[in-house]
Each structure stands twice: as structure tokens, then as C-alpha cells.
């Protein structure tokens, strides 16, 4: 079939196609088909994400201090810095720490999490957000603590990366995740950087060996997404093409997982 490269396992006519949709549960249990090398590669992503969480936590603490000092501009600056670190770790946030993710990145929630503080700082120009900032510090601290003792698996990273890629083609492109600050485009770029890192650190080497064409396709589709996101404003973002590119990339990643002996990525939640 001419288009075989673009046909992941859930496509019509593809090998092992299943219609058992209800089986697509989050954090799909890992089959034993993948290699120990892939497990080790998954572990190598942890320092990357730890660094970003540490960066986010550091910025959140500074934001809290600026809020306590009634310094709106300073608090805004550190909120933006904190988002960079957080969005750079979203490959794992929802997949591994859903309960903390619910507290840290809650939506819609006017009391708790990044967006409650964002609404205050950027919308209302109000620094009366100390309780939410304190809670965010506590939750991110706990997040960092739990992350240090968590084993990242290839399947978990495949799931988290696939969900994030899909999400970029979804509501982020249609208006943005951080509307009050106008930071959505930057967050898309941070997401894409973390997707690139997850792929390069965990999946690229094996894929290049087993299916060079697929590896090339993934890199090309990812580059296309990054290029589309490299626009100055949200109005300039070609949402239809970004969505199309994201769907191509999720399909690529599903095949990457397939080639690596993993289950198809869970896209729920």
C-alpha cells in the first residue's frame, strides 16, 4: 500500500486493527514487548522534566513573594516564567500526576491554580492572590517530590506525548490556554520543545534503527508544527494547518510506539 507509512495500527487495513475502543484507557499497562534499552531511555527524560519543574517552582516562589510585596509587574513576570517550566513538562503532568495536575492547572477554577492567579494578575490587575500562590507553591513542591520517586515508562511517555500533541491541535490553537495573559502561543512553543525532547531522548534512536523513514516523517511533521507555531500572534497562527500537522504527528507517534513494541497511546483525559 503506497501510503503504508502513514497508517498506524488503528487505521483500516493496518495490522492488529482493533475496534475495542473502550480499551483505550489512560496509562495503558505496558506490554513486555519493548526493550530494556527503551526503559532506560524513558528514564533519561526525567532530568529534563525535573529541571523544568524546578524552574517552574522557583518562579512560582518568586511570584508568591512579589504578590506578597504587592508588586503586580513582578508577579506577572514570574507567572509567565513559571508557565514556561510547567508547559515544558506537560508530557508527564496529566499522565503521571492527574490529581496534582487538577490542582495546579485547574480549569475552570477561580480559586486555585495557575489560571485563577492569571485571571487576577493579568485580567483584574490585582495582586490579592496570595492564598492561591501559596497553594500553588505547595502543590508544585509536592509535584517535584513525587516526580523524583516516579519511574517514567516508555508507554507512559508515549501516552503523555501523544495527548499533548493532539491537544496543541485542539483548543490551544483555537484561542489559547492562557487567555488572560496572552501567553498561549509561547506555551504552545514550550509544549513543542518538550515533545521534541521526549522524542529525541526516548524514541528517536530506536525508531531510526527500526524504521528510518518513520523517524524522518516524525521529525519532518514536528518541524512543520514548530514552524507553524513560529508566528508573532495568535491571529497569524494557521489553525487548520496546525491541527492537520498535529494529527499527522500523533499518527507518526502511534507508529513509533508500535515499532517500539508499545501499545497504541491512550488519548483519554
Amino acid at each position: 500500500m503506497a501510503n503504508r507509512l502513514k497508517r498506524p495500527l488503528y487505521a483500516a487495513g493496518a495490522i492488529a486493527t482493533t475496534l475495542c475502543l473502550a480499551n483505550v484507557a489512560p496509562a495503558t499497562p505496558v506490554r513486555a514487548a519493548h526493550s530494556a534499552a527503551l526503559d532506560a531511555a524513558a528514564g533519561s527524560f526525567k532530568p529534563y522534566v525535573l529541571e523544568r519543574i524546578a524552574r517552574s517552582l522557583d518562579a512560582v516562589k518568586k511570584m508568591r513573594d512579589r504578590i506578597a510585596a504587592q508588586d503586580l509587574t513582578g508577579a506577572q513576570q514570574f507567572w509567565l516564567a513559571a508557565r514556561g517550566g510547567w508547559e515544558g513538562s506537560e508530557v508527564i503532568t496529566n499522565e503521571y500526576f492527574p490529581d496534582l495536575d487538577r490542582k495546579i492547572d485547574a480549569w475552570p477554577d477561580a480559586e486555585r491554580g495557575f489560571h485563577a492567579i492569571e485571571a487576577k494578575l493579568f485580567g483584574a490587575h490585582d495582586v490579592q492572590a496570595l492564598p492561591a500562590a501559596e497553594e500553588l507553591v505547595a502543590n508544585l513542591t509536592e509535584f517535584e517530590r513525587q516526580l523524583r520517586t516516579t519511574t517514567l515508562t516508555p508507554q507512559g511517555l508515549l501516552n503523555g506525548t501523544a495527548k499533548l500533541i493532539y491537544e496543541i491541535g485542539e483548543n490551544k490553537a483555537e484561542g489559547g490556554e492562557s487567555p488572560f495573559s496572552g501567553n498561549s502561543l509561547a506555551e504552545i512553543r514550550d509544549n513543542l520543545a518538550s515533545i521534541a525532547a521526549a522524542y529525541e531522548l526516548v524514541f528517536a534512536q530506536g525508531t531510526k534503527k527500526s524504521n528510518a523513514e518513520l523517524a524522518k516523517s516524525f521529525s519532518s511533521d514536528l518541524a512543520a508544527m514548530r514552524s507553524l507555531a513560529a508566528v508573532p500572534t495568535l491571529q497569524a497562527l494557521d489553525q487548520v494547518r496546525l491541527r492537520d500537522a498535529s494529527e499527522s504527528l500523533v499518527n507518526d507517534l502511534a507508529m513509533v510506539g508500535q515499532a517500539s513494541g508499545l501499545d497504541k497511546p491512550g488519548l483519554g483525559n
Binding site: 473502550a22 492547572d105 485547574a106 485571571a119 496572552g182
Partner: protein
């Protein structure tokens, strides 16, 4: 921050207050991207914020305070003539529905913001909630010759019109409030190309849109009998009202309400008249009019009582208070309809998606890439919007049903990806493979139904969750209002 998108129509300098009064919600109804609300709010912040200006690299797609009416729990009922007569919607009608629902039919900012014909004409009706600052003077009105959607059509006047319902449009020529266009086809062409800066539509797209609109019927009204006469048990007031409706005007016996609103002819006469509202405007139908407020071309009246009062004053009818009440009772009776709203739910969404998929049954074998691409895009949007009806795990509103919601979301996302396979196959010229992928997608859709229905209790299709979700969105957005910009506003508790 300088922002000149709106040209002659300046954006409110008090976006916080405006947002409070015209709150936008995350997307709910079909074809309206959930993100629009967020994008609009981004601008609210941008406009308000001197400190923000140095950080913000983004701007919004629609003006602060835009309301697209996405919060509605129910949706207008669609009645199709083809189905009422025992048949089914044709390929053309379904294709027209796709084009009507697709932002790709329009151009410029509308397309970018995900706005389609259906955004204003929800399910082929009206949208009484729609309000776009700079283009609306009140909810349910819209200036089609404003600067936003096509600067070339900007006439320099803020002259918004009500959004007409398209129910029964096949009986209601000429088209446009002023009846300027005899042909629905020509009218549509003007809307697409001139008012919304869309690309020149193909002949088949225009034909299909006409077929779709002409298939939309009035919602049945069992109180209307033959020749437009009220039937069944009538109240005394309705009976008197019907008589008054036919009674010649005192100052000119050639005139009466019924002379223009011809009961035997869908309550229209296909002509324009000056009824003292500022020019010549065509006679609007009174069928299903209970659901078409506000009234008059510019939406100046919100009730039948006001409308009757206008005619009484303008045409010196000398109506008593009782007469007015009777006419209102009559108008309410003939303007009624059965089950004009239906619950939005999985079943309704799947039906629409299936109708859209049916277009591909013809378009793919015909190698009609343009139609297939538009259709796939429309279905993709539908599926993504449906996905958002099942709150993700991090939702602060619903904590139960995590597994079911996750399965629903995953199922729908895989459906989206299966559509992408169709598109990929088509783009590589492999239409047989695209047809096989279509069959596969249809199987996936069938398999998805029980998964989605199992998750419905924890979705936005559940009234309690729906209301809690939007209340939380409102609360969040209210918390983003700068009190310095809305100093006298007292916020209502949720």
C-alpha cells in the same frame, strides 16, 4: 496598546464591564470553537493592561465582550421538508449543511475565529444571544457591512440587522431585510464573498447551500389550519385577534395586517413596505415568529406588544388596550411551534456527524477533493467539539466518571485521527484507500456510540454539570475583571 482591528467601531474602553455584561462562554454549541471565548478574553486583558502590554505577544480574534450564545443547553429543532414528506435528506442537502457549518466557506477573520453561517443561524434559525461589540447594538443583531469581517464591505455606518431565521426560507423570497435580492443563491453568494470575505464558492457548494436552506421547514404548529386560519379550541382573545388582524385600517381600507401578512401565503406578500421603521423592508413571516425576537429589521422591539403598539401609532389604528391584547394573543397563536428546542446530546451529535459522513460516500468515489476536504474539516470540528462535552480529568467541576470520560475522549480522538487517514489517503491520490478508511471510520463511529452514551451522565449534556461548568467559567472570568475599569459594578453572586 494600539488595536485598530475595528476601524470605525471602537472597542469599549471598559472591557471588564463589558465582559461582565456580555459574558462569553467556552464553546458548547456545534461549530463554535470552545477556544473563542478564551481568545476574546485575552483581548480583554490586553486592552485593559498597561503592564500586560509588554508581555503579550497574542491578541484575540474577536472583540472583547463577544457573545456567541454557546451556553445554551438545548438547540433549535431542525425540521426538513424532505424528511417530513417521508424521504431523506439528499446528498446536496447534507453537503449544504456541511458548507453552512464550515468556517472554510467564509474567509478572513470569520474563518480564523471558527465562525460559520451556523454561528449566527443556529440550526438554520436565529441566534438571539449573538452580540459582537462594534457590530451589534443589542443581542441578536449584527452589522453585515461593518469593518471586522470584510473591510471592503464597510459602509461607515453602524447599521446592524436582526439575524433572520431561515425556517421556511423557500417561501420567503425576496431575501435580505430590504428584499433586495430575488434569488436565494445570489443572496448567499453576497453573504459569503462580500460580507464575510470568503472565497468564490463553487457552483456545487452554492447549489448545495440553497438545497439545504430550502429544505429547512417551519416547525409544525398544530393550531394553524388550512389557509392559515387558527383551528382547534380558541380563546376569546385569540378569536377577536384574528378578526382584528383581517379588519381594514380605518384611515385606509385597502390596508390590513392580513393584506401584507397573507395567511394563505406563509403570512408574507413578498413585497417591501414602509411601516415607519426607517425605509422599505420586506414583510416578515409570522410563522414560528414567537422564536424570532427581537423584531423589526433592526431588532428595536422585543415583544409582540411593542410591535402592535408601533402599528397602532403609525397607522392610527385606534386600538383599545383589549384590542392590543387580542392581537398579541393571535400573533402568539400563529407564531407558535411544537418542540422548537431539543436537548443537545450524544444522539443528536452522532446524527449530525453521520449526515456529514454521508457526503463522503459520494465525494470520495467521485474524487471530489474539495468537497471531501471541506466535509472532513467540518466533521473534525464536530468531533473535537463533542470531545469537549466530556470534561477532561483536570476539570474542577466533575470528579466522578473519570474512566468513562477518559474513554469517551479517547474514542473521539481516535475517530478524529481516523478521519485524518482519509484525508492523507486522498491527498496522496489513493481514493480506494480513502474509501476503505471511510468505512473504517464509520465502524468506529458506531462502536463509539455506547462509549459516549455511557459517559453522558458526567458530561456537559448533564444539566447539573453543564450549569456548574458555565457557572465556574463565569466566576473565573469575573475574577479577571479589573475593578478600576468597572468601578460601579456590583457582581451578582453565582
Amino acid at each position: 496598546m494600539t488595536w485598530r482591528w475595528w476601524g470605525k467601531h471602537p472597542v469599549s474602553i471598559n472591557p471588564g464591564l463589558e465582559i461582565e455584561e456580555k459574558l462569553i462562554m467556552a464553546g458548547k454549541r456545534k461549530h463554535i470553537p470552545p477556544g473563542i471565548a478564551l481568545a476574546v478574553l485575552a483581548l480583554t486583558a490586553a486592552l485593559a493592561g498597561s503592564a500586560l502590554a509588554e508581555f503579550s505577544g497574542n491578541a484575540s480574534l474577536l472583540p472583547a465582550g463577544t457573545e456567541l450564545g454557546e451556553e445554551a443547553f438545548d438547540q433549535p429543532r431542525e425540521v426538513f421538508r424532505s424528511e417530513s414528506s417521508g424521504g431523506h435528506k439528499s446528498y446536496l442537502v447534507n453537503m449544504g449543511d456541511v458548507a453552512f457549518s464550515s468556517p472554510l466557506t467564509l474567509g478572513g477573520p470569520a474563518r480564523q475565529a471558527g465562525i460559520s453561517c451556523n454561528t449566527c443561524h443556529v440550526n438554520g434559525t436565529t441566534n438571539p444571544k449573538l452580540y459582537i461589540p462594534g457590530l451589534s447594538t443589542q443581542s441578536g443583531t449584527f452589522d453585515t457591512t461593518g469593518h471586522l469581517f470584510n473591510p471592503k464591505a464597510d459602509n461607515g455606518v453602524l447599521d446592524p440587522l436582526t439575524i433572520p431565521s431561515l425556517r421556511g426560507a423557500h417561501l420567503l423570497a425576496p431575501y435580505g431585510h430590504d428584499g433586495r435580492t430575488l434569488s436565494l443563491r445570489d443572496f448567499l453568494h453576497n453573504v459569503i464573498v462580500n460580507e464575510f470575505a470568503g472565497p468564490e464558492p463553487s457552483t456545487e457548494v452554492l447549489d448545495a447551500m440553497v438545497a439545504y436552506i430550502e429544505d429547512i421547514d417551519f416547525v409544525p404548529n398544530r393550531r394553524l389550519g388550512a389557509a392559515g386560519k387558527l383551528t382547534g379550541p380558541l380563546s376569546d382573545s385569540e378569536r377577536r385577534g384574528e378578526t382584528l388582524f383581517h379588519r381594514p385600517f380605518a384611515h385606509d381600507p385597502t390596508l390590513s395586517c392580513a393584506a401584507c401578512h397573507v395567511p394563505t401565503g406563509a403570512f408574507v406578500d413578498h413585497r417591501q413596505h414602509d411601516v415607519g421603521s426607517g425605509g422599505l423592508f420586506k414583510t416578515p413571516t409570522l410563522l414560528n415568529a414567537n422564536f424570532n425576537a427581537p423584531y423589526f429589521h433592526d431588532g428595536r422591539y422585543t415583544s409582540y406588544a411593542q410591535v402592535v403598539g408601533h402599528f397602532d401609532r403609525t397607522f392610527y389604528l385606534g386600538l383599545s388596550a383589549q384590542d392590543r391584547q387580542d392581537l398579541v394573543a393571535y400573533l402568539q397563536a400563529i407564531g407558535d411551534g411544537e418542540q422548537t428546542l431539543l436537548p443537545d446530546n450524544v444522539e443528536a451529535r452522532i446524527r449530525e456527524i453521520s449526515d456529514f459522513l454521508s457526503v463522503l460516500d459520494t465525494a470520495i468515489p467521485e474524487h471530489n477533493v474539495a468537497i471531501a476536504t471541506m466535509t472532513l474539516d467540518a466533521i473534525d470540528r464536530e468531533l473535537r467539539d463533542l470531545t469537549e462535552q466530556f470534561p477532561e480529568r483536570k476539570s474542577s467541576i466533575v470528579s466522578a466518571g473519570v474512566e468513562q470520560r477518559g474513554q469517551a475522549r479517547s474514542t473521539l480522538k481516535y475517530l478524529v485521527l481516523s478521519l485524518h487517514q482519509i484525508n492523507s489517503a486522498m491527498r496522496s491520490g489513493n481514493f480506494d484507500e480513502a474509501a476503505a478508511d471511510l468505512a473504517h471510520s464509520r465502524e468506529m463511529l458506531s462502536a463509539a456510540v455506547p462509549v459516549l452514551e455511557a459517559s453522558e451522565p458526567w458530561s456537559l449534556f448533564n444539566r447539573q454539570i453543564h450549569d456548574a461548568h458555565f457557572a465556574a467559567v463565569r466566576k473565573l472570568y469575573r475574577s479577571a475583571i479589573d475593578p478600576a475599569l468597572a468601578p460601579r459594578r456590583r457582581y451578582d453572586p453565582d
